[in-house]
Assembly symmetry: C2
Homo-oligomer: 324 residues x 2
């Protein structure tokens, strides 16, 4: 460790989600020394959000010895542009409309350099440095949450593309005719089927199309969540298992296409849906096997994130800070 | 230019196609000093092919002052593995079955280092160094020949993936139900529709499904080529124009998916089908515009290769030689 990192041994990582913003102060070994969190929503402007965040941060900054000990900050956020440090058109965040220079706001408030990347990219960096993708140079991280996100690592580096927005694999088209409407305004996207909300939509579709008995019928159809489906599947409910099979098969089929692109060593899955374990992972592998080109068969691993809760995202975000 | 390149100012480039093998001796500015060619087929073994190639090469090697003047050789070939210097399972080449260590065979015969890459990757490198993609760090080269190939450039480097076979975008699935059988053994691949042979198949399908008058009916349906379709379209034939519209629209739709992956600055098209000019390029742009995410709209250029004939492939292959 050089003198610089001895003097400034920490970075701040921020996992900025649609609901919660989780902060961690992290050392160079990936140990999270202190954490805090605020709600992401409820602020009229990005400035008001930053002010609340810095107030919460100040407490844990003091815990580790003050801002002098901190080298930089890294942020993982939806619709974040790595090149410009801005959040762009983050429709799920009230203060995130338009183009928000969040890296600059934090940098000015804290007096340290701040870098920002997409939340799925941050998770990928976290896995690469601290998680199941340690030592891998080529892998794809797929986050299965409210949406489907992805972080693509090629030759050990996140793919940002010409504009900073590469790696949005939730929006490849999987159903070309009569596809479901996606949040992006187009139809048939992977995300419209394989996100947590996509799983709930599949459940409602299956319930309405047949009279097949299912534990899911005991619930208010409009309020069904992917968690309800996984509980029912865990109890052996046939329809719930079929919902996971449909979801996983489509994810696997999509991964087979992704393999032709960058031939990754592994696909790493992260997020709520992975809690279903084999219920989702087996159909993913099955869909992949059924569609993969012979040339790639048997080469890629299918892994679940090894980092708990939001650790991957916080650690990944912090790693972006080390790289400044 | 350093002393080394003054002493050895040339590299050999080989564009190894299914029909012809074109050799060029190239200087560091991309000037092709001498060329020769042999047929690719008609040899029982890779050793016999190499022997014939080296015999032809010797003539032009002597023209530029002997093998002492040549630093290395680069080969662009179908199913080539950059990492291992082998051609693997090249089903279109009689001597290319199994795993053929072609780079080693040439290296032993010529006494110089030899590197090999996939033919579409070689074309991409050629465009990046000498063609329309000069100065670009992120673009996708799409070759429209007997098959559909691709070379993906991210951060100024070809994407090889974990095994050397990344960038096979001809085999993303475009038609998920009742798709055409592809040469790879799967169904619905982009290549089965948008290669030169795919265009001919589309022509035969359209001819057999309707009685619509068309210049194409004057030809033997089984022998129709994409060139025939382009000639008919050039004369204003409605069905021929519709065949290009169908082909281009699907390519554009595929490119919209590719953009979510790596957000390229440009898509560069190369190969026989591009001779049709706007007849194919306009439908490509139309399909792209209809399917691209808002975030990426208007960002990527659609270009036709600026390098004539097989120059891009020979120059690209030679560039792989400079990099050794």
């Amino acid at each position: 460790m050089n003198t610089q990192s001895q003097l400034k041994p920490y970075v701040i990582g921020l996992d900025l989600g649609g609901t919660n913003s989780v902060f961690g102060i992290v050392d160079s070994r990936g140990d999270i020394k202190a954490t805090t969190a605020i709600k992401t929503q409820g602020y009229a402007t990005a400035e008001a959000y930053t002010e609340a965040a810095v107030a919460a941060l100040q407490v844990i900054i003091d815990e580790v010895g003050g801002i002098e000990k901190i080298k930089a900050m890294g942020i993982g956020a939806p619709n974040a542009n790595y090149y410009s440090g801005t959040i762009e058109h983050a429709t799920n965040i009230a203060w995130g409309k338009g183009i928000v220079p969040l890296a600059r706001l934090f940098s000015e408030a804290l007096g340290i350099p701040v870098a920002m990347t997409n939340d799925a990219n941050a998770a990928a960096i976290g896995e690469m440095i601290y998680g199941v993708a340690r030592g891998m140079k080529n892998f794809i991280m797929i986050t299965l949450g409210t949406g489907v996100g992805s972080g693509i690592v090629i030759n050990g580096k996140i793919v940002y593309g010409s504009d900073g927005f590469a790696g949005g694999l939730g929006h490849v088209t999987m159903v070309r005719e009569d596809g479901r409407l996606c949040g992006c305004g187009r139809t048939g996207c992977l995300e419209a089927y394989c996100s947590a909300t996509g799983v709930a939509r599949t459940a409602r579709e299956m319930l309405s199309k047949t009279n097949e008995p299912s534990l899911l019928r005991e619930l208010d159809a409009e309020a069904i969540t992917s968690y309800d489906v996984s509980v029912a599947a865990g109890k052996g409910d046939e329809m719930a298992k079929r919902i996971f099979k449909f979801t996983g098969n489509m994810l696997g089929e999509a991964c087979a296409d992704f393999a032709t692109f960058c031939s990754p060593e592994a696909f790493v899955f992260f997020g709520g849906l992975t809690k279903a374990g084999d219920l989702i992972m087996d159909p993913i592998k099955e869909g992949y096997e059924a569609h993969i080109m012979e040339l790639f068969r048997g080469k890629a691993k299918f892994l679940i994130s090894g980092l708990e809760g939001s650790s991957a995202a916080v650690l990944g975000a912090s790693a972006v800070g080390w790289d400044i």
